[in-house]
């Protein structure tokens, strides 16, 4: 997976729980829960979808790394390399 693919998978995973989200209206550096209006359960379901699509294991302790889309990108790129 390259970075572009990972970004696509992140957006797809967000859309699983929040289908109304449009990529071009969200700030990649902002708190994703605020940007995409995710409650705690949405957030967990988003990470579960992401784990499934990327095949990268995401444990409880990693959750803070998914604070924003850009931080998630950095984390997943790093894991993928």
């Amino acid at each position: 997976m390259n970075s572009t693919e990972i970004e696509r998978l992140i957006i797809e995973a967000i859309k699983e729980v929040a289908p109304e989200v449009e990529k071009n209206t969200i700030d990649f550096d902002e708190d994703i829960r605020e940007e995409c209006d995710l409650d705690s359960m949405d957030f967990i379901n988003y990470l579960a979808a992401l784990q499934k699509s990327t095949g990268i294991k995401i444990i409880e302790g990693d959750y803070p790394k998914f604070h924003s889309i850009n931080s998630a990108l950095a984390f997943l790129n790093d894991k993928n390399s």
Binding site: A18, E20, S40, E60
Partner: protein, 592 residues
């Protein structure tokens, strides 16, 4: 049942505010005088001026980005006066309705207390609500002033607020210098909008507390209805008497405690026990801006040396799920008492907390309408895991039913299911549903307030929650009305009918599920339905926000309806849970 009791043999009675439960109940007297002047903000803040705790930290705010700001009781007194004087300068008078729609930022707390100090009525809204729940609550509540952020305003309010006849002023609590909004702030604000931080700079730090009366309206909280719009629940300044005494008894709060209530002030717990009660008792309260995160929460408990923690089952179950390895990295030895509210805490979670956190959660029960904790597991009493506990001193509870004559009869026999009722007259009892007097009167009969919750009482007097008597959904501790969700989905062009119910969820208690029938012209191919399902989910989220929108949507050809055309949610639920269908004599048209 004795094997299910957590006895507290090692409990030191000097650590508890309620030494002898029965004696305290017998001796209790509310000592309230409705003619007396009484103001919640005075009790929470100004009362402490010129006492030994005026410079003590009253509120410690923890920001998302590791910021920390302390406010002493004197700071809060001055800041709330500033806010009250801004309301005066803007030309408002006592009784002004101030709503907040904002995350847990310091100015939210100052606005709430400042409004009460001014003699206004404060209503907190949950910032994760979508535009529809926000608008309906603001319309019903006849809001005059909205405190929010520029960001939330642009996202949820800007296009329609001018249509509300009573809303004149919007106060932004973020700063125009904030880098994220600096571009926007170079444009003039919409008419009626102000930067609060600018108005506060030349306001009056000594603006006096209004001499409100005990029975003057102070708080207007919204609660969901089953068949109609949300209801505005009226509380008066006298409620503070119950806030204070319940926090002392049920949360065991003492002046030297460091206390963390994790509830958002957008819900009643976050106001009664996340703003008012702890300040009245002179404690240091911690406010965390961020949302739930396992490690962050353990870190706060350790770093801030929290002694008393009041949280909710959904969060507790998420901590359980995260496992013990994370918990073992943190020192939680400062904790002396932990409590839970929002929905019944399962016995397993109480046992888990005793084993893993080192002390058991004390579940308690109350509602928006009761204003304060009514039934609780106490520090000095044995805990029965899964039970909501015993009535507080000053509260008379009973399990009741209607007899053949339609009168209320108490059920004395142990473990019989009936409606939970409270003898009316405690200080934080709600005084009305705004503009819905008839609905209010329906909640009372023969001197009892009928809670709408089904429960039972055991031989030792402990109460056990059974379920709601109506169709309301309890998800993550929040009461959600199916009607609001059904109405929003009905606005979609493809939708013909909707029935919304709550289905069991191991983390959130219940989750919202919508059953939808589609208009005849909708093409029902598999592909089209899958796309429509997503579209409807997004549609509902946009209108209602994440806290209210359904987590699951399914399609049906027909929904079960009564002869009058009312969708039978009860039947949808019984079928979902494989329960007996009960009386279906009114069923006219069945589910397909």
């Amino acid at each position: 049942m004795s094997e299910n009791i957590i006895n507290k043999m090692s409990y030191n009675s000097s650590d508890t505010n309620l030494h002898d439960y029965q004696q305290s109940c017998d001796d209790f007297n509310w000592q309230t005088d409705p003619k007396k002047t009484l103001n919640i903000a005075y009790q929470a803040v100004d009362k402490h001026l010129n006492t030994s705790i005026e410079n003590k930290v009253a509120l410690r705010w923890l920001g998302k980005d590791e910021q920390l700001i302390d406010y002493s009781y004197r700071d809060l007194a001055e800041q709330t006066s500033l806010f009250a004087s801004v309301l005066a300068k803007l030309g408002f008078e006592q009784g002004v309705r101030v709503f907040s729609l904002v995350g847990r930022l310091p100015l939210l707390y100052i606005s709430a207390l400042g409004t009460l100090k001014f003699g206004g009525v404060f209503t907190p809204l949950f910032s994760a609500f979508g535009p529809e729940p926000i608008r309906s609550r603001m319309e019903i509540g006849e809001v005059n002033v909205l405190v929010t952020t520029k960001r939330l305003y642009d996202k949820k309010i800007a296009t329609w607020w001018h249509e509300l006849p009573h809303l004149n002023v919007i106060l932004f609590i973020d700063s125009p210098e904030d880098e994220k909004i600096s571009v926007a702030s170079s444009h003039p604000l919409d008419k009626g909008c102000y930067w609060l931080t600018i108005l506060l700079t030349d306001a009056d730090t000594r603006y006096p507390c209004a001499k409100t009366h005990a029975n003057d309206m102070a708080l207007l909280h919204f609660t969901s209805g089953t068949t109609g719009q949300p209801k505005g629940v009226i509380h008066v300044h006298q409620a503070v008497v119950a806030h204070q005494s319940s926090a002392k008894y049920a949360l065991n709060l003492k002046q030297d405690d460091i206390y963390w209530c994790t509830a958002d002030p957008g819900w009643v717990t976050g106001t009664s026990y996340g703003i008012i009660a702890p300040l009245c008792l002179g404690v240091t309260m911690i406010v965390d801006e961020a949302e739930f995160e396992v490690e962050r929460w353990y870190h706060i408990l350790q770093q801030q040396k929290i002694t008393i923690w009041y949280t909710a089952p959904t969060a507790i179950r998420m901590l359980m799920k995260a496992g013990t390895a994370i918990r073992e990295q943190y020192d939680l030895s400062a904790l002396t008492f932990i409590a839970s509210v929002g929905e019944p805490l399962n016995a397993e979670a109480v046992r888990w907390s005793e084993k893993v956190l080192g002390l058991p959660f004390h579940d308690n029960w109350w509602q928006t309408e009761t204003g304060a904790i009514m039934i609780a597991n106490f520090a000095s009493q044995p805990i029965k895991p899964g039970s909501m506990g015993l009535p507080l001193p000053g509260i008379t509870a009973a399990i009741v039913k209607r007899n053949a004559q339609g009168r209320i009869e108490t059920i004395e026999q142990a473990m019989q299911i009936g409606e939970l009722a409270l003898k009316q007259g405690w200080p934080s009892m709600f005084r009305g549903y705004l503009h819905r007097e008839e609905k209010y009167q329906q909640c009372f009969q023969d001197g009892w307030y009928l809670t709408g919750d089904l429960a039972k009482r055991d031989a030792q007097g402990y109460y056990w929650f059974v379920g709601r008597a109506d169709d309301l959904i309890k998800s993550s501790g929040h009461l959600i009305g199916p009607f609001e969700i059904e109405s929003a989905l009905m606005e979609h062009e493809a939708v013909a009918e909707v029935g919304v119910i709550g289905i069991p969820d191991e983390i959130t208690g219940q989750k919202v599920k919508a059953y939808v029938t589609l208009n005849p012209d909708v093409e029902c191919t598999e592909h089209n339905l899958a796309a429509l399902q997503k579209e409807l989910k997004g549609f509902a989220r946009k209108k209602l926000g994440a806290a209210v929108a359904p987590k699951e949507i399914v399609f049906r050809k027909n929904l079960p309806k009564t002869r009058s055309g009312k969708i039978m949610r009860r039947l949808l639920k019984a079928r979902e849970l494989n329960l007996p269908e009960g009386d279906i004599s009114t069923l006219e048209s069945d589910e397909q």
